[in-house]
Structures are given as C-alpha cells and as structure tokens.
C-alpha cells in the first residue's frame, strides 16, 4: 500500500456561537472565538489517499484529478467564505476544526474513485490540527 498526500490552502472566516446557549455561556465556552464579527484563518489541508500504484502509470491516482476534486469540493465552497453563513455543509454546526474536517471528509470520500481516502489533516493554525480517519484504518505508514 502506498500513501499519497496532496496539500492545499484556503482562507476563511468563522465564529463560534450556539444560539441555545446564553450570551454568558457562549462567551465562557467559546472565548474570543465568540466575537460576533468573526475572525479568520489560513487553513492548510492535507489529503492522503491510500492505494496500489497502477502498473501502467505507476500512480495511485492522477494528481491532476485529485487537484481538480479539491478545487471543486473545497476551494470553490470554502475559500474566502464566511463558514457559518456560506457553506451549506456546515449549516447548524459550529465551524470548529473538527466539524470542518468532518465536512471535508464527507465531501471528498465519495469523489475519490481510485485508491481510497485514508486521512484528512486540517490545520487551523500551525499549532492546532485535526485528523480524520475511518475507524479501523491501519496504523503505521500514512498515520503520522
């Protein structure tokens, strides 16, 4: 099995607010992220696909194909957007790194036809990131 990783960036704004919490609870739980005007990040996304290289091409999948999928599914939806208001997949959710990563997983997994989606790593800042895997994904190569 070979693991191939493609990296991309997008910039977006968000805020954390749960309408079922009181204003005090929102401030206490979400801190500065509850600022009603929102704030933004340069997100870095790493997408890892696992598979066996095709004997004809030597590739797990065509990187151009993966790049086009990422452009359509992630960049076109999320880049330079306000995640709370403009991304349907995050409707009704707090756009934390966990929820954005899960939404991206759900967008990408059915679109990757060659190999299989192994891991999504989404950096909100260089010091905070979230990984998504299928439960039971093999440990070891492609994990870290």
């Amino acid at each position: 099995m070979v693991y191939l990783t493609r990296k991309m960036e997008f910039s977006a704004s968000h805020l954390y607010h749960n309408p079922s919490f009181t204003p005090e609870e929102n401030r206490r739980i979400f801190g500065k992220c509850n600022n009603p005007h929102g704030h933004g990040h340069n997100y870095v996304l790493e997408v890892t696909v696992a598979g066996e290289p095709d004997p004809q091409t030597g590739m797990v999948l065509d990187l151009k194909e993966l790049k086009d999928i990422l452009q359509r599914e992630v960049t076109d939806r999320m880049d330079h957007r306000f995640l709370n208001y403009e991304v349907r997949e995050l409707n009704g959710q707090i756009p934390t790194c966990e929820n954005i990563a899960r939404a991206i997983w759900n967008l990408l997994e059915p679109k990757i036809k060659r190999g299989r989606l192994h891991r999504i790593r989404l950096y909100e800042t260089p010091d905070l990131f979230v990984d998504c895997y299928r439960n039971g994904a093999p440990k070891g190569a492609g994990r870290g």
Binding site: Y16, T96, E98, N99, A101, R102, V130, C132, R134, N135
Partner: protein, 139 residues
C-alpha cells in the same frame, strides 16, 4: 455518513529545558561513547515541541472533542510548569533514576497527560530539535 469516522485533535506546545544523558549503570568511558556530546557534565538544552493528540466524540453543542482552554490548562499545569526552564535531571523526579532521553520524556509526558478527563489521549510526539522527533502512544 460520518459514522465510523475517527477524529483526533492535535495541539502543539513548547518548552525549553536542559538535560544531561548519563547512566549510573555505565562506566565513564561507556557513557562518553554512548552519549557523546550529550554526556557533557554541565548539561545542555533544547527547545522542545510537544504534540498532544486526543480523540473522542465531537460534542454537537460545541463542535469540539475537548475545549482547547481545558486542554491548554491541563498541559500547562502537568507539563509546562514542571518542565519549562528546568533542568530535567535535577528537577523532574522521574529522571532521577531514568536518563532524560526524549524517548523517556515522551513516556513521562504521556503518563502525565493520560488522566486528561475530557478526551482520550492518543499520542505524544516530541521534537527535540527540528531534525529529531519521537512518538509514544502507550503500551
């Protein structure tokens, strides 16, 4: 659709500390041969980077596995306050008997953080320098 998805959150922390690699079970020559420059009796230091990975269910009310303020506070109390700007050999009880290699440091940090009450500790990864890193995920 998200069923069966495992989500891990990783946060990076930093501390600076000194150490000396020296074993009481080895002779002076063996210590010098095994540990080289790291056996310098005066010690030396590193800017350590610690990656703490936790997993758990994402709370629908907050969108979070664990509130970062809780994780930051726990790591600050259990690790940063104990290690930052310290001499690991002299000031961390675990390293009175064990050599403070970064392998052992990973295991020590793991044992200090495994009690984090809000999520499951998955893994500790420590960069001793930009070129050397070590990981420990429990037994």
């Amino acid at each position: 659709m998200s069923k069966g998805l495992k989500i891990e959150l990783t946060r990076r922390y930093r501390f600076a500390a000194s150490h000396r690699l020296h074993s009481e079970h080895l002779t002076k020559d063996e210590n010098e041969r095994f540990y080289g420059k790291c056996n310098n009796p005066y010690g030396h230091g590193h800017n350590y980077v610690v990656e703490v990975s936790v997993s758990g269910d994402v709370d629908p009310a907050t969108g979070m596995i664990a509130n970062l303020a809780d994780l930051d506070g726990f790591v600050e109390r259990e690790v940063i306050e104990a290690f930052d700007c310290r001499n690991l050999n002299e000031e961390v009880p675990a390293f009175r008997e064990r050599v403070p290699t970064t392998e052992n440091l990973c295991m020590e940090v793991f044992s200090r953080l495994r009690q984090f009450p809000k999520a499951r500790l998955e893994r500790i990864r420590i960069e001793e320098t930009g070129s050397n890193s070590f990981e420990y995920a429990g037994e």
